[in-house]
Subunit: 334 residues, 2 copies
């Protein structure tokens, strides 16, 4: 794959154009182009330009609403619900976030459910505006059905990521965002393409037997990270980002048989805490802990690598696969 | 260790007597005896009678307040704080729970911080009354400083358990409660006593090198479960059940040099969601998922083993080590 260097501005414009030329409203297109660009800036290629064709195909297939106008409703004194109007999560999140931040500050804790939408972006991107407001936040999304429960033999759960954010001084943040599967589907696909084996514990074959063959695991199921503990966390995400918020479980989504490569329908749950309600200032109270953690050689805080990449990308742009850029340029001409 | 059979009533009475005879108020003693008895009933010996001498020694050492009178205060419209008055968590939790349940029902989501207390019990015991009220709940506690961060060389974090509960029909529940370390300290101690090796990934020696020698790991540090993901979760617990609620981190507690074998000072954070605020009834909406999960041979839901043990214990009592019973009986005579 030949790489090509692009500035972040160019990446944003390219994504925006692809969406606009394929029936997305400017609002939907801008919100998605923003998360795509931020993913490229943070060196998370798996959530960057790579996702643009999927967003487009979901609209072209008539499955997702590129013109969606999300709306926010208060469901209880400390609970909001955003109806994504069948569009994509980034605009739904942007629409609800200011109200969510204000509500958490007023109530001390608040939750926001996003429903009737399609989630295809990284959770850290959803967390950042809330952390930047000095708040502590979790979010949860049901991913594509690909993971067998611990001890099980076939797919039941999504890759079900968990995100957590904690504010730090000077705009810094402690943010993590990881799939509750041992490995992402993409990682297993890369191993298959390069004819490598996968480690024990990543997957099982179609008969439920442990395998180190990536093709067999892709035909069978991935496994949760961390054995029964990761499996329990994955089940938790399935419940709270699925039925709790009146959205489908990943296995119910799998039964829809979606094959356009775009984001599945689903929702997202946010829980936001205002540290001042607990009498503390999260921007400073964690610093002694972080200092002690990073004093140990070999310890890296979860968001450190992304932040370093961001600084570099803003200065000198990022490398992206030329073939992917050509594919997206073609979408702008269709 | 010779076992002796005891009824749950006898276990409750024995614990209660030990506390009463050592300067605990009836309220403190009853609340702790209840969680001790429930742990024995659920076959969680590590949180049962085994903990009674530690509770007593913390009071005899003048460190914990056996006469504590916890109080509840509202810190924000959806946030409560219980001041444990230097006593133990069970009474502090019991004191705050009715208000927490009422607040979550009124607001849709609520949080409760417990501070100025000593936590020594299983999290599932804290979750059950809230789940029984039809609510979804998380809780978090900073454990004893014993765990090195992923990639690190020495102790920084506690065993930092995470608990989650989801209500099911007919008083059932999906509840998990696990340490974010790969293994509990007690499990490593048992391996040492039986001259066994521990699996790779459980611990490192005092120089930060991987070890399968339990004695070396006990002198060094345990490791988080699930590599960098479990490590991130452990850091999260350290932050939200420590400084966020104005309690110490596990390494700050370690610096106190407590050696009486009793529970360390610390707090607990609860987050409670009322499913009806999201338009769903958690007692029923998860059932299709659980049915699908347990249809797979080999899949066991997290609380299944405890619930089976409970049914059996109520009928026929439990076996406990005679030596431990004698030790607690001695505490009743002192």
């Amino acid at each position: 794959m030949t790489p090509i260097k692009m500035s972040l501005d160019d990446i944003g414009r390219l994504s925006l154009n692809a969406f606009i030329h394929n029936g997305f409203s400017l609002k939907q297109a801008s919100a998605i182009a923003d998360v795509v660009t931020r993913a490229e800036a943070d060196n998370c290629a798996s959530h960057g330009l790579y996702r643009v064709p999927g967003y487009v195909s979901a609209v072209l297939a008539g499955r997702a609403n590129g013109l969606a106008e999300p709306t926010v409703a208060q469901q209880a004194p400390s609970v909001l619900r955003v109806d994504g109007d069948g569009g994509f999560a980034p605009l739904a999140v942007d629409t609800g976030c200011p109200d969510l931040i204000a509500l958490a500050r007023r109530q001390g804790i608040a939750a926001m459910a996003i429903g009737n939408t399609h989630h295809f972006s990284a959770l850290w991107a959803d967390l950042e505006p809330i952390v930047d407001a000095g708040l502590v936040v979790w979010c949860f999304v049901v991913g594509q059905c690909a993971v067998a429960p611990h001890g099980g033999t076939h797919r039941l759960m999504g890759t079900n990521p968990i995100g957590f954010g904690w504010p730090r001084p000077n705009g810094g943040a402690f943010i993590f965002d990881f799939a509750t599967s041992a490995a992402a589907r993409g990682e297993v696909e890369l191993k298959r393409l390069s004819n490598e084996r996968i480690p024990q514990g990543w997957g099982i074959d179609a008969k439920g037997r442990p395998t180190t063959d990536p093709a067999e695991a892709l035909a069978g199921a991935l496994l949760p990270f961390g054995g029964h503990k990761g499996s329990a966390l994955s089940m938790m995400v399935e419940l709270i980002a699925g039925p709790l918020i009146r959205e489908k479980t990943s296995s119910e989504v799998a039964q829809l048989g979606i094959s356009d490569g775009g984001p599945p329908p689903g929702g997202e749950l946010f829980v936001v805490v205002d540290p001042t309600a607990f009498g503390s200032d999260a921007r400073t109270v964690g610093e002694a802990f972080f200092k002690e953690a990073t004093a140990q050689a070999g310890v890296r805080l979860p968001s450190a690598r992304r932040h370093a990449a961001r600084m570099k990308s803003r200065e000198s742009g990022v490398e992206v696969p030329l073939q992917l850029v050509r594919e997206i340029e073609d979408l702008c001409r269709s």
